[in-house]
Symmetry: C2
Subunit: 466 residues, 2 copies
């Protein structure tokens, strides 16, 4: 691990100089208009800017003597001995929230810190830098965002910043969640075309190519894994196609149920945005909207003809803040959640302790095992084609005479919580099994075997024979 | 305490019946349009509605056998013995986030639960009901909301739901945060008039009356305590005035730095909305936007001519969900944060263990003591008039030759973290001392005395003599 305290102490002294130096400079009145106020924030990035702005003054707590910080609640990797252990509880195997590691939950109860303290700013900054690695991105013009909110807030980020009212967006329809993204886009005035596939499949590349040739789209959205069906959308070839036939179209991915369990090679695949949430394969409790945008997407926000159509979800408001945090400079637009950010830091540290490709392979191996067991049981998946099956969840059609409302309570009594169906056309006909994070990667847990056995036994108890 | 497990088990059985009963009814395809989809959610409230909707099917995990739930991580009041204790750290006395109680932080590391499990639904429902008590409201047409987000999201709730583009809003200007509220209102198209008072004061009732007589305003906003100045705005007489001279105008309060430390008698005072955050006097870590709206405000949302101007902050999307949770029925629009909601439940349980009036009196007593100490030190407050001084924070002008950048690190070394100034006109001339929650109400902590002594010593070390 990084020698925590000494590094923070250095940050603190350097921050101390930044705070003191400009005190002799002429004060400058902050402008009254919002753009001006935000421009003050962004100028944080230039250390020569005078301090007398609401935001820069918030730097003063930088000067806290970090040697006072306790050493026994610093960030810990799972390899470190953690004293906390969770009370026994049914294993949560729904497609998010997932089971959390002890160290992640321990980070949730971090003592109270100022959102502009050097220790928290360092934690937040490192968290943003780690997201770049999760997305395998080295393009410094790309920008990570971590905001307090549900995953759904990511749709607002896209709809109110990347698209302007009246612009056309092509939504690839794979289920419940692509419908939601379309709804959100319409709220902010986008002209949405939905290219819908039958339940359990995704639009073909030929259909996408045809749609793109008929209209000029500002953006195309794809739900990487639609949590309602477990359908996986392939991103690499899709993105290549869009770049070929409609090079100006931004490629936006809803990665809520895919980030950290399905491979995403952000730069190499030429993606423009991925929005996700904390509580799925990333393995951090719910409450954070996490997103990553390309330099091209950031330019689109900058070059808007109209201001962003939301305030809390405005990327113009948040970009300078995220840049500051990553540069280990405190700044303020709205108070983040230090505890959730600590937990995300712990979760990302655990993820990045090994190559991410190993993580994706681990999820694939567990998924293959589960899919084989499902098939051996004589059951079918909503996603029929193997190359359209997600690796972090499985949506399973129930046998004809078995009802979810009978089976799920039996599974729960066996200590395994699955989810019911959610796709409106087939909701009562299937169940969903989430297999992400520690439940598949920690070999000591045995969650997958427990779940498969519970499913076999539960179905047998209801009279089903494979 | 409520006999937890048996009550939950009952909820579960009754939910089980709700799930099973409609299975024999004809399936109904959910409509494709957003309004129709949301209408499906709201129909959850009618138990006769068929189950085959995305949302109702999410009820299935209701049937988890709650006797499986562990008993050692249920909700605990501060009177219960809690084993956890926080590592030593500098006492955070900024105007939010504040110091948190052990039991609240313990709730943050609750093991993972489904957001639609009966135990979590019960916790969320009770949390919403407790908010009614915090606002001293018994009007069943009033509606509490708890969303994942920063306090700032409350501004979006107001600006995108209660006001339509082109409508006039009067913003009472008391500092940095009223400016922010005005910015947010403008983003969603409101026509904003700011009635600004000089630094350290608030607009007078006569000025408000004059402004209201000049234009018909859809809403008036007031920052109950402006965290940038510590100026307290009196609500009771203000609301009476608005009801008298402009009875159709909605009265909206930014209560981020006032809820749970300043009295708010929501029904009696005729307020229409209070928006706040979790991390200040409520004493729960940051990450939740908490708000409370009158029946009249809810009607204004219902009767909009245009749809709400945001998606994640749409009250039309969230209202049925909040009503369902409070009725202990699971439903889904976006995933809430179970851990933060558990922590809020614990914090509200602690608050409501005593009459709220005692809590307000406790904050006033501590504030009086602090203000006297400040005055005895020969220091002045930004809020000069005693009846305009907040009771949960004090903004203190520094002596002429003392700089915040020198004083704050000295205080930090003494184990007390204060905040710098934030009001743009006077930022480097003052510091802010937050005194909310356990730091003033738990007599065993001694935080207030420690802070006053540190301030005295720190000023003396910098050569200041009272």
């Amino acid at each position: 691990m990084v020698p925590e305290v000494s590094r923070l102490a250095y940050t603190s002294r350097s921050a101390f100089r930044r705070v003191l130096a400009p005190f002799s400079m002429p004060r400058q009145k902050a402008p009254d208009n919002p753009a001006g106020r935000l421009s003050l924030i962004s100028r944080h990035l230039a250390p020569v800017y005078p301090i007398n702005t609401p935001y820069t003054v918030e730097r003063i707590p930088d000067t806290i003597d970090t040697s006072l910080l306790p050493k026994n609640q610093t960030r810990t990797l799972s390899t470190t001995t953690i004293k906390m252990s969770q009370p026994p509880h049914a294993t949560l195997l729904i497609p998010g929230p997932i089971e959390f590691d002890d160290a992640v939950l321990q980070s949730m109860s971090h003592f109270s810190e100022s959102h502009v303290s050097p220790s928290f700013v360092a934690t937040f900054g490192e968290t943003l830098s780690m997201l770049r690695k999760l997305f395998q991105s080295t393009d410094s013009s790309a920008q990570p965002f971590v905001l307090s909110g549900s995953g759904t807030l990511g749709w607002d980020l896209v709809a109110s910043n990347l698209v302007e009212a009246g612009e056309d967006v092509l939504v690839l329809g794979t289920g419940y969640f692509s419908d939601g993204f379309a709804d959100c886009l319409r709220v902010y005035g986008a002209n949405v075309t939905e290219l819908k596939a039958p339940v359990g499949t995704k639009p073909t590349l030929a259909e996408v190519e045809k749609a793109l040739s008929e209209k000029k789209y500002k953006a195309i959205t794809v739900t990487h894994v639609d949590t309602s069906t477990g359908v996986l959308s392939e991103l690499k070839d899709l993105s290549a196609l869009v770049h070929k036939v409609s090079p100006d179209t931004l490629i936006i991915v809803d990665g809520v149920c895919s980030v950290a369990c399905e491979e995403i090679d952000f730069d190499a695949w030429g993606l423009d945005g991925v929005v996700t949430a904390s509580q799925k394969a990333i393995g951090c409790p719910a409450g954070l909207s996490i997103s990553f945008f390309s330099g091209r997407a950031m330019k689109a926000v900058e070059n808007r003809k109209t201001p962003p159509a939301s305030y809390f979800a405005s990327m113009k408001n948040w970009t300078p803040i995220m840049k500051n945090y990553e540069a280990k400079k405190p700044s303020y637009f709205a108070t983040p959640s230090p505890q959730l950010v600590h937990a995300l830091h712990t979760a990302l540290s655990q993820i990045l302790a090994k190559p991410v490709t190993e993580r994706f392979a681990g999820h694939k191996a567990a998924s293959d095992k589960i899919k084989k067991a499902i098939s051996d049981l004589g059951l079918k998946q909503i996603a029929a084609k193997p190359d359209e099956q997600a690796h972090g969840m499985t949506a399973i059609y129930l046998p004809e005479n078995v009802k979810g409302a009978d089976l799920l309570p039996i599974l729960a009594k066996k200590g395994v919580v699955f989810a019911g169906g959610i796709h409106k056309e087939i909701a009562i006909k299937y169940i969903r099994f989430g297999h992400m994070g520690v439940s598949v990667l920690d070999p000591n847990r045995g969650d997958v075997d427990k779940a498969i056995n519970a499913l076999k036994e539960g179905l047998a108890e209801l009279g089903y024979k494979a």
